[in-house]
Subunit: 188 residues, 2 copies
Amino acid sequence: MKSNNGVRERILETASRLFYQQGFNSTGINQIIAEAGIAIGSLYKHYPSKNDLLYHYLQHQEAVYFSGLDEYLGEVRKPIQKLIKLIDYRIEIQEQSHCFGCHFIKINAETGRHDEKVTQLVAGHKKKQRDYLERIISEIESVQGLPMKKQNLTDAVFLMIEGAVVSASINGNTDDLRTTKKIINQMF
Amino acid sequence: MKSNNGVRERILETASRLFYQQGFNSTGINQIIAEAGIAIGSLYKHYPSKNDLLYHYLQHQEAVYFSGLDEYLGEVRKPIQKLIKLIDYRIEIQEQSHCFGCHFIKINAETGRHDEKVTQLVAGHKKKQRDYLERIISEIESVQGLPMKKQNLTDAVFLMIEGAVVSASINGNTDDLRTTKKIINQMF
DNA sequence: GTCTATAAGGAGATAGAC
DNA sequence: GTCTATCTCCTTATAGAC
């Protein structure tokens, strides 16, 4: 491994993978430095505490999620297709990561709302996801009718997707995400 | 405290409360015995390991949930009212427990699907919840029309409730559960 | 049932040498 | 950047005396 460059990034990527796959509390500092192939001194130089690493993990996932989503929807023109593609994006993410669910829901379940900063990062991410969805539904509204009031439709779709992602992490498949897509298709 | 009677129950109740409030991994054996007011020898006599305690915790919550639900719906006659009351039941549970979410979703998020027995208890609970919901919707169908195909309606309602319970644990309120109730009311 | 002692290991974090 | 040593504390679990 290269020894001087990309150390900070390698720490975060390794920690992110382990936090997601086996949980934050179940992941030890020693495992992170071993799998990242770096020294413990380097870790604490870049991230002064394990909690600090957690904050950067969540911020990183937030950026990765939305930039990936923008790219995934890049070519799509029809608003209704954007909605369908948004669910396809979640399906693809889950299938590429062994259906372990949503990073933010997992951390929230593990740490509760004890840490204010974590609470705000999780709630903020979910708010951004819902706002993103609402913008797509507004676009749909501008070209065709909606099957129910805009706000209710936004909440219904958001909550179904949330439930379906949780279901994916429980059952280890994307069946409910696909069901959600089917239901939405039949609503319009 | 009484020293010889109800020890086993007190262990399980204390462990259940702590597992739910601060998480399974964040709860130590020493804290359980301290808050239950029992000796460590007693704990390991009744529950040979912390994992064994976890299994009993999940089985106990399963029983508590469904017996409480049956009682809560006991007086209700109209099928559509059963559906609304089912959501009221979730609202009441969340508001009485600081909106920490679903016991089973939390454990699943913490332990993933590594432990087969836990995986089965969680997936089994969610299957039972969905089946319970499907029976109510079948009753509704027998007295009035449904706004969509029965299976799709069951999945949609189940997933919205799941998402709304997760949202409760993130935001610390039952807003999305109440929104879910409103959406369902408007669908019929 | 109670108590205390202890094993054996891992946690997060710090310090210093190279 | 690397390495090793160490500190303090906590973890699950067992054993034995009362």
